[in-house]
Structures are given as structure tokens and as C-alpha cells.
């Protein structure tokens, strides 16, 4: 039997994972349709000011990949489009894709890769931290935009005190989720270190219960942020934020000493729990996919990315992953799609 390259693979979501899957399939000469809801490829990477563990600019890293997609003859990118319906057929799915003008395109596909990503938890339940009520209380993705501004030269007049709260909504069985969102330890270290890089006179505090740096070069990254960039890690979960003059007063216990601690900050950054995006929930419903108790798409037992016979996941629609993990899953999903399109009868 030869290689069957006539069936199209549908990749839903144009973030790191989706781009990587589409790029690999395109390289191998398989027809791919990449559907992206927004007007731009790159997903969350476009919002980030830097990356861990090597302080690389994520845009510089995503751009050549987008170029690959543009140059590939077999990859078709549909921006500002969404998948609105699907029917199972003998060799895959019949799907309907709607673009921003309302035009609906019918497509027969042999494999589907879901890469619809995550969203940050809504923090309105955490009144004690004042997100949305006090100025200068951000969630981590919002703060990336502030960091981008500072990087571009629009720096605050006075060197600020920036406080990072980890585990806001994660590891919280009363108001949030019981799970660990996995990536917050690393990006909080990155953000806190970046503040010190951009504004050496500023002060960065990271409030933590523990830091989970299990990855290649991760522990070294966090230690260098503490020891070389002099970010102060305070062990304890902040209990309360109170506005005081122009600043924000943070109250917490230093659980290493068992004493209450007060810090006055200009900015507070909340590392909100990561949950499945709306797109993830919609696609799981549409394709009839297994999900876990929180709505993340669940692969088959002992499968890395395979959800069903012809459906695969990539990136944080399965669970929070860092960029590298998203790329790995994108590549794995592409390989699995190729395998299913070529399987012996």
C-alpha cells in the first residue's frame, strides 16, 4: 500500500500546539486546514513578554513557524473562523466552518486535532484580592501586557513594588480547583525576574506555598531569579489586600517563621488557575469527546494525545502545558494523524 495523502486533517486552534501540528503535517505533504478564531496565529504566545527557562522572545520563536505555514502548499489557514458543526462519516468527519462574514464552508476531513487551549479562571470570587475592584491588581496574562509596555520603554516614574501571588484558584478546594495549574510557578518566576531586569530599582515579591520547577533547567531558572535577580520569595498564601493611600497593603503569614507579614505593593499579579477555554468545551461537546471533571479533554487510557479513533488533542485543552509541552503534543498529534490516515486496512 502507498501513502494516502488525499484526506485532509483539520487542526482547530492556531496557538503553539496547533501551529506545530499543522506545520509538521504540511512538511510531510498532508493537506491541512488550520482554523483560528482570532485574526492572528500564535495564540497566547503573542501576549507574552518573555519565556522560561531561557528568556527568549516568544514572538521571535512563533514568527518563523507562521512563515513555514504560509509557505507550505498543503496548509490552508482560515483566520477568524470557527467550526460550527460536525457529522461522523465512514472515514472521518464532515465539518462546517463559519468565517467572520457568516459564510459556511463544508469540509470532509480524515483526522481532527483539537488545540483549543486554556483560559484563566475568573477571579471575581476572590474579593479578598480585589481583582477588578482595586487598580493595579492584574491576572498573569493581563500583567504580560504591562511587562510588554515596560519593555517597550513606557516605564513607571517610580520603581514599583510588584507582588506575585501564586495558586490563586489552583490548589483551592473551596473557591477554585483542587489541581495544580502546573505552569504558574515558572511564569511567575519569569515575570518577577523580568520586572527586576527592566527596572533594577523595583522590588519583586513572590508569595508561594512551594515552587514546582520540575523540568529541564527549571530549578536553575527559579534559583537564578531568587539569587541573581534578587526576587524575594515569601512563603505563605496572602490572605487580604487592602487599599492604603496609593498602594496596596498585603497581609499574609510568613509560614517559615509563623509570624504575620505586611508588604506594601504598587502592583499585584494573581497567577489565576488555568481552566479549559470556551472553545475547548464547545469542541468537546461537538465531537462527543471524553472530558475530566474540570472539562479538560481526556485522552484514551495510556494514550498521549489520542482521544478517539480520528480525534487527537494538543496543548492545554488536555491540561495546562508550557510552550515546550504544547509543541511536543502538537508534533505527537501530527504523527498520530499521519498514522491513522495511512493505516493498513
Amino acid at each position: 500500500m502507498g501513502v494516502h495523502k488525499e484526506q485532509t486533517t483539520l487542526v482547530i486552534g492556531g496557538g503553539a500546539a496547533g501551529i506545530e501540528a499543522a506545520r509538521m503535517l504540511g512538511q510531510a505533504g498532508y493537506p491541512v486546514v488550520l482554523v483560528e478564531k482570532s485574526n492572528r496565529l500564535g495564540g497566547v504566545l503573542n501576549q507574552l513578554a518573555s519565556s522560561f527557562p531561557r528568556w527568549e522572545d516568544p514572538v521571535k520563536f512563533v514568527e518563523p513557524r507562521i512563515k513555514d505555514l504560509e509557505q507550505s502548499a498543503s496548509v490552508k489557514v482560515l483566520l477568524e473562523s470557527t467550526v460550527i458543526g460536525c457529522q461522523k462519516t465512514e472515514n472521518g468527519y464532515q465539518v462546517q466552518i463559519k468565517n467572520i462574514n457568516g459564510a459556511v464552508e463544508e469540509l470532509q476531513v480524515g483526522a481532527v486535532i483539537i488545540a483549543t487551549g486554556f483560559e484563566m479562571m475568573d477571579l471575581s470570587g476572590y474579593g479578598e484580592y480585589g481583582h477588578g475592584a482595586f487598580p493595579n491588581v492584574y491576572d498573569s496574562l493581563e500583567f504580560e501586557a504591562v511587562l510588554k509596555e515596560w519593555s517597550a520603554g513606557k516605564k513607571p516614574e517610580k520603581p514599583p513594588v510588584v507582588a506575585f501571588f501564586k495558586c490563586v484558584g489552583s490548589r483551592d478546594r473551596s473557591k477554585g480547583y483542587p489541581y495544580c495549574s502546573k505552569i504558574c510557578c515558572m511564569y511567575s518566576a519569569k515575570q518577577a525576574g523580568l520586572v527586576k531586569d527592566l527596572l533594577p530599582e523595583a522590588k519583586s515579591y513572590v508569595f508561594y506555598m512551594d515552587y514546582r520547577a520540575s523540568g529541564k533547567e527549571y530549578e536553575e531558572f527559579v534559583r537564578s531569579v531568587i539569587e541573581d535577580k534578587h526576587v524575594r520569595y515569601v512563603r505563605g498564601r496572602p490572605a487580604k489586600v487592602l487599599p492604603e493611600d496609593d498602594r496596596l497593603l498585603i497581609r499574609c503569614e510568613d509560614t517559615l517563621m509563623g509570624v504575620p507579614i505586611e508588604v506594601r505593593a504598587d502592583y499585584i499579579v494573581l497567577a489565576a488557575a488555568i481552566r479549559p477555554s470556551r472553545g475547548t468545551t464547545e469542541m468537546a461537546e461537538m465531537f462527543g469527546l471524553e472530558t475530566d471533571a474540570y472539562g479538560f479533554i481526556e485522552p484514551e487510557p495510556f494514550q498521549a494525545v489520542k482521544v478517539q479513533e480520528r480525534v487527537f488533542l494538543a496543548g492545554s485543552c488536555g491540561f495546562a502545558v508550557e510552550t515546550l509541552g504544547a509543541l511536543q503534543q502538537g508534533a505527537a498529534a501530527a504523527a498520530q494523524a499521519m498514522a491513522v490516515l495511512n493505516q493498513a486496512d
Partner: protein, 199 residues
């Protein structure tokens, strides 16, 4: 005591963490070459310490007090004078933090500030020991104990250990002097701008 007159528990008064909090760890980095920021907060030092059972602050907590810059508590604490510099904490520390070096530094500072150890005779013992080192370059157990017991007026303190130590050769009535007393003298030269311990 009624509620309105009861004193505030100073220990549970909120500690302010601000721009000045790291000045002590900066100072220790400059003067002792010890990087406090390397502390992993694991507590292996306290677990290994030979004297924690009489410490008010364990070695890990001492490092933590430096991190929060609580100098008053550090200089007032009893542990400052109970540490015997056995080096077990440094030996066990995964980050190689030299806690006895910090303790030495803090002791000097406490003496400079005129802070007297709360335990009786601790200062006396340290002075007598250093006095001997200054005179003969080493410690003679016999004369240190005799001197200490006389001056602290505890004439029979640990006397029962005397014969045992004597027969094991630990109490030499004729203490040996080190040969290069000039080098010992140099150790006791007061540093500029600082009052030496045995000045």
C-alpha cells in the same frame, strides 16, 4: 489581667517587609561572604544541629530572621550564645550556607552594642577563653575551667569530671604555648572602626 490592659504579643505583631528588609543580608554578604538568598528553606541545618534542644531559634529560623531583617530579635536571641560552632549545619546544608560564620558576626555585633547574653556567665566564659588564646595561642582546659569556676563562683561546677579528664590526659598542668605568638597577636588587632571582642 483584663483584655484592655493585656500587652500585645510582640511576636505576632505584623512584620513589615520593605526595601530595608534585605539590608542585613546584604551586610552579611559583604562582611562574611555568605549568600543568604541561596537558602532553600529545607531545615536540614536544624535537623542536624547538635544544640537545637536548647535553642530558642533553630538554625533555619536564624537564616529566616536575617531574610526578614529582624536584627533586634537576632541580637537578643539565646541561640546566639548556645551555638558551639560544631559546623554540623554547614556540613549538611545543600547550599553550603556558613551559619556559624553568621553567628560569629552577630555575636561581635551584639557585644559592640553592649547586649549582654541573657544566660548567666556566657560572656564571662567567652572572655576567659579568648583571654587564654590571646596569652598562649590556645585553650588550656585546666586553667580555663579553674578560672571560670572561680570567677563565676561555682567552685565545684563539673568537679566530678576532673579526675576522669586528668587520667585521660585532657588536663595538662603545664599548657604549651604556640610558637608563633606574633601571628596570634595579629588575630587580636582591632579592625578599623570596630571594637574588638577582646580589645
Amino acid at each position: 489581667m483584663n483584655a484592655t490592659t493585656s500587652p500585645v504579643n510582640q511576636y505576632f505583631k505584623a512584620l513589615q517587609l520593605d526595601e530595608q528588609s534585605n539590608s542585613l543580608s546584604q551586610e552579611i554578604l559583604q562582611n562574611c561572604g555568605v549568600e543568604i538568598e541561596r537558602c532553600l528553606e529545607c531545615g536540614k541545618c536544624s535537623g542536624g544541629c547538635s544544640n537545637t534542644h536548647i535553642f530558642d531559634y533553630t538554625p533555619r529560623k536564624i537564616v529566616q530572621l536575617i531574610k526578614v531583617g529582624n536584627e533586634d530579635r537576632l541580637l537578643q536571641m539565646d541561640a546566639l550564645w548556645c551555638c558551639v560552632a560544631c559546623q554540623l549545619c554547614v556540613d549538611r546544608c545543600p547550599s553550603g550556607i556558613d551559619i556559624p560564620r553568621i553567628i560569629d558576626y552577630l555575636r561581635e555585633r551584639a557585644i559592640d552594642r553592649g547586649i549582654v547574653p541573657t544566660r548567666p556567665n556566657v560572656k564571662l566564659f567567652h572572655e576567659l577563653m579568648l583571654d587564654q588564646v590571646q596569652k598562649i595561642g590556645r585553650v588550656s582546659e585546666l586553667y580555663l575551667i579553674l578560672n571560670y569556676n572561680l570567677k563565676s563562683k561555682q567552685y565545684l561546677n563539673n568537679a566530678e569530671l576532673g579526675p576522669q579528664m586528668f587520667f585521660k590526659g585532657k588536663l595538662n598542668p603545664i599548657p604549651a604555648r604556640v610558637k608563633r605568638m606574633d601571628k596570634v597577636k595579629r588575630l587580636f588587632r582591632p579592625k578599623p572602626g570596630q571594637k574588638g571582642v577582646a580589645e
